[in-house]
């Protein structure tokens, strides 16, 4: 195999594979990237057996063929090369030679045969604007539980319904729900429901960052995998199995009370007060009073803090405990300036939503209170 590519394009594609290559070197071949030269492109594939990514860039292929080299080392090295063309050639015994300008290098690779075979991509069933997908992910992924168990999943639920594309994530304490408008949801051939692992969601956001504003993700799935094709890049992931909690039951139907707040005000106030909350539970007390919201925290060892922000609130006085981190996750994830904090009583879920003009999609964030 021998081909020539532009250094900057090679670096860009290689960077995308870094999040996927296996970090622990338990199976050495998984820290390698597979390079395949055919026709006028070179294709790069990386996988950790949970997730796989396949990218490609144009190349002048002198001799078709394939081989593998350590992904990290290759990127680190190529990045340092001067701008321009890079020539790559596989030699005997899996050595790869790289020539660029006056630089000549050989990297030890491994046999292509030991690289795992990735599943074939099925026919796509939906075309989703990548920007929609990414914005849904960034507003839900923080609510995904760290561990997987019988009751929580290390991933989010993606549902396509006539009302629009929906993504839901929860860790049992809070739940984030986003539903895009039908227009922003793209086109679908059939309704579906899929559980997307958190790691795949992170990689999808990276793909979206690097894609054009109107680019679409072609979505498909087979029995065990999900596939997202964005331009000439393909992300595939194993499906999560398990039952996603019945989120419809969790979303409050109505709230008696509502407080309107300025996001930046409440966010900074919570950030400061939370410095004195318990290091692990992050517990703060939130008091809803006529015209204001007060936040308190105290820790025996460190001290205590209190802050008040103005709010349009007309309900009865109410004090509820919350995990400050949970509230901040939401406040940091939205671009809007206003929020509404909706509640019922001390024991019922509180709900946060962005408020104000120009909000088209539905974003609901449900947080269970704490008893402090």
């Amino acid at each position: 195999m021998e081909f020539t590519v532009s250094k900057s394009e090679l670096v860009r594609e290689l960077s995308l594979s870094q999040g996927v290559v296996e970090k622990k070197t338990t199976i050495p071949i998984l820290s390698n990237v597979l390079l395949e030269a055919a026709e006028d492109r070179v294709t790069l594939t990386a996988t950790d057996l949970e997730l796989g990514i396949r990218c490609s860039c144009p190349a002048r292929v002198k001799k078709e063929g394939s081989g593998t080299v350590p992904a990290r080392k290759l990127l680190e090295f190529v990045r340092l090369l001067p701008e321009g063309d890079v020539n790559m050639k596989f030699l005997e015994n899996h050595w790869a030679s790289i020539t660029c300008g006056r630089s000549r290098t050989r990297i030890a690779g491994m046999s292509r045969e030991s690289f795992p075979e990735l599943p074939a991509t099925p026919e796509s069933i939906a075309e989703i604007p990548v920007k929609t997908l990414a914005s849904m992910i960034t507003r839900t992924s923080f609510a995904i539980s760290m561990e997987e168990s019988r009751f929580t999943l290390n991933g989010a639920l993606l549902v396509m319904r006539p009302e629009g594309l929906t993504m839901v994530a929860t860790d049992g304490h809070r739940l984030a729900f986003v539903q895009a408008t039908p227009e922003a949801s793209g086109t679908v051939d059939q309704q579906f429901r899929a559980l997307v692992p958190k790691k795949a969601m992170n990689e999808l956001v990276k793909l979206a960052d690097d894609a054009g504003p109107d680019e679409k993700a072609l979505f498909s799935g087979d029995e065990n995998h999900l596939f997202f094709q964005v331009g000439h890049r393909l992300l595939m992931t194993r499906k999560l199995t398990g039952n996603f909690p019945d989120y419809e039951r969790v979303l409050p139907k109505d709230h008696a009370l509502s407080a309107k707040l300025l996001k930046d005000e409440i966010k900074s106030a919570i950030e400061r007060v939370a410095q004195f909350a318990d290091e692990r539970s992050h517990a703060i007390r939130v008091q809803f009073l006529s015209g204001e919201v007060r936040i308190f925290s105290s820790s025996v060892e460190m001290g205590e803090s209190e802050e008040s922000v103005l709010s349009e609130y007309t309900g009865p006085d109410l004090e509820i405990g919350f995990n400050a981190q949970y509230l901040l996750d939401f406040l940091r994830a939205i671009p809007q300036d206003h929020i509404s904090f909706e509640l019922k009583d001390q024991k019922s879920a509180g709900e946060l939503r962005p408020a104000g003009e120009g909000i088209t999609d539905q974003y609901r964030y449900v947080v269970m209170p704490m008893r402090i």
């Binding site: 318990d278 879920a349 704490m370 402090i372």
Partner: protein, 658 residues
């Protein structure tokens, strides 16, 4: 005039009566105690065939006058007690006047004794209780008692003796323990001409421990030091034996005196874990005893520092006014009754616990790497008569405490805060090469080990307080933090370290009723087995108070609506099943307090950082600081060690630099 009197019946009847001689070790015990009562400074014990063929005790005590020597074999003949009043404050080991006649009735006994007041000595020979010979003899000062063919005339008893090896082990353990109680005396124990124990007088208990057990054991021990506590308001508690009750009635109305209790001795670091109580030795006013109350006090001192099934090594000396302890409880004098049992219990528990906190002993690596001096053969023999009898009956809180536990004062885990040491920049740099051994402090005499070697003096005790100025260097296997300290290298198990931090936090919150709970989006439904259902019903209130809001939800099903804030929802089912399992097993008969600790320990374990978790430098630093601020940074609530220390000295040694 002789010293020995026959006790009047009215006194003799007040004395706990029963079998005195059960086995060779009980003979040795009685004779040894007599020698100690006689003020001996050198005691030699020879046995053959585990004491079945021969027991000989040679002492340099006061000896006996001719008349006394004859009288000594009468029942209730003693020089140590006069009337009923003396029973209240027994200061000698013997008091019944029972031992010699009992021994003489089941063996062939030869007594050779001479008192300093007489120029010739006395030789008396008795077999099966019958006097065979009594003659004047030219003897040195002191007493020699030779007991041959024990139980030769009581075949039934002989049948119950164990193997020679077992009986010898009992004897050895007994002599060893008495040698620990008297560091200022010489003890020699031989069996068929081989020396099992030979210790010469030393100034401190520490040196005696070294003589007996060697340096390795000593390094695993923490010295209690001398602790004293006054009892001001004597609550009417355990009724003392009848004799005392009677006496007190007579003396009613008298002003209650103030009593002082003192304890001293050694206890092991929590990582020394023995499978049974054989390494717990308790002396009350110089008497080796077994006592459930004190055993319980010890195990509660180690609570959550050691697994429930493990026992420490403890050498405990409790001293008090003689009136505070009734020794006239059991014919073998191996049990006592405290007039203020719960005071003594709490004093012992709190003192040991405080010392554990203060010293924060750090386990170190590879004890084999150190120059280990060997223990005495006797210390290696496996049995101890005193602990063995209790082996299968673990004292429970309920059975031991006469008072309801509510009456036990809640003790604080925090050591009394001393003045903060002033930092000094001009202090000389740390010395890495060991200085000369601290001289003068230890008075040395030649003993079985020769000189007390410099290495045997443990380096200035490494305390886990040093954790606060450790510099984390990184992790191994994303599980153990490696840190550099002022003196060497430390390895800290990140999970158990965090577990300890959280455990104390959770306990404090629980005690203050400030449990933080997090409600769940959807109740968690758990299926229970019938056994779990029973345990659930038993502990439901405590679960609730610990932050688990649960409700019965149909048949053998519970719904969990809220949980302690530190526990993630993903762990909830596991932790609840775990708590139920523990409640069903080891905490089946536990007190409420133990149950609470068990639940807190489960919460801490589930909420703690797992192993195989990468930590950044800031997190590691936080963890070490928080750990050093805990009350017990040496072991996790389940008793596993948290930190290992590899001292600069050990490093230098390993590199052959010293």
């Amino acid at each position: 005039m002789g010293r020995i009197r026959i006790l009047p019946d009215q006194v003799a009847n007040k004395i706990a009566a029963g079998e005195v001689v059960e086995r060779p070790a009980s003979v040795v015990k009685e004779l040894l105690e007599n020698s100690l009562d006689a003020g001996a400074t050198e005691i030699r014990v020879d046995v053959e065939a585990g004491g079945r063929r021969l027991i000989r005790i040679v002492d340099d005590g006061c000896g006996m006058l001719r008349d006394d020597a004859l009288l000594a074999f009468e029942r209730h003949a003693t020089s140590k007690l006069r009337d009923v009043k003396d029973l209240l404050s027994i200061a000698t080991l013997g008091f019944r006047g029972e031992a010699l006649p009992s021994i003489a009735s089941v063996s062939r006994l030869l007594l050779e004794t001479r008192s300093a007041e007489e120029t010739t000595g006395t030789r008396i020979e008795i077999a099966g209780g019958k006097m065979l010979r009594c003659e004047e003899a030219a003897l040195g000062g002191g007493t020699v008692i030779t007991v041959r063919d024990l139980f030769y005339n009581v075949p039934a008893r002989r049948k119950f003796l164990r193997t020679e090896q077992t009986e010898l082990a009992h004897v050895a353990s007994l002599v060893t323990h008495y040698s620990l109680a008297h560091p200022d005396k010489t003890f020699l124990l031989t069996s068929a001409a081989s020396e099992l124990l030979h210790v010469t007088p030393v100034a401190t208990l520490k040196e005696r421990v070294y003589q007996v057990f060697g340096s390795q054991v000593l390094e695993d021990l923490v010295e209690i030091g001398e602790r004293e506590k006054q009892l001001f308001i004597p609550a009417p508690s355990v009724p003392p034996s009848e004799a005392i009750a009677e006496y007190r009635r007579e003396e009613a109305g008298e002003q209650e005196p103030v009593h002082a209790f003192r304890i001293s001795g050694f206890f092991s670091r929590p990582q020394v874990q023995k499978a049974n109580r054989n390494s717990i030795f308790i002396f009350v006013n110089g008497r080796l005893i077994r006592d459930r109350l004190l055993l319980h006090a010890l195990s509660s001192a180690y609570h959550n520092l050691m697994p429930a099934s493990a026992y420490p090594f403890v050498l405990l000396f409790l001293e008090s006014d003689a009136e505070e302890v009734d020794v006239n409880v059991h014919p073998s004098k191996t049990e006592v009754r405290f007039r203020h049992g719960s005071f003594v219990h709490d004093f012992v528990r709190d003192t040991i616990r405080e010392r554990l906190m203060e010293s924060r002993p750090a386990p170190s690596f590879s004890p084999s790497a150190r120059a280990a001096s060997a223990e005495q053969p006797a210390a290696r023999l496996p049995y101890s008569e005193f602990s063995q009898m209790l082996e299968n009956e673990a004292p429970t809180a309920v059975s031991v405490m006469e008072q309801p536990e509510a009456a036990l004062p809640e003790f604080s885990l925090r050591p009394a805060a001393g003045p903060v040491p002033r930092l000094d920049f001009s202090a000389p740099p740390l010395e890495v090469t060991p200085g000369p051994p601290p001289s003068g402090k230890l008075s040395r005499r030649l003993d079985a080990h020769g000189e007390f070697p410099a290495e045997a003096v443990p380096a200035p005790e490494v305390s886990l307080s040093a954790l606060s100025d450790l510099r984390p260097l990184g992790q191994i296997h994303e599980s153990f933090i490696i840190a550099a300290g002022r003196d060497g290298l430390w390895i800290i198990d990140q999970h158990v370290a965090h577990e300890r931090i959280l455990f104390e936090q959770v306990m404090k919150q629980r005690a203050a009723g400030r449990v933080e709970t997090q409600r769940l989006l959807l109740p968690l439904i758990l299926q229970l087995t019938p056994e779990q259902q029973i345990d659930y019903a038993r502990i439901a209130d405590e679960l609730h108070a610990s932050g688990f809001e649960t409700e019965p939800f149909g048949n053998r099903t519970i719904a969990v609506k809220a949980a302690p804030a530190a526990v993630s929802a993903a762990e909830l089912d596991k932790i609840l099943y775990e708590i139920l399992e523990v409640a069903e097993g080891e905490l089946r008969n536990a007190s409420l307090d133990d149950l609470r600790r068990g639940i807190c320990a489960s919460i801490a374990c589930r909420a703690a950082i797992k192993i195989n978790t990468r930590l950044d430098a800031a997190k590691m630093e936080w963890l070490l600081r928080a750990l050093s601020a805990t009350d017990c940074p040496m072991s996790c609530p389940h008793g596993r060690p948290i930190a290992l220390h590899y001292s600069t000295r050990e490093v230098l040694k390993a590199f052959h630099r010293i």
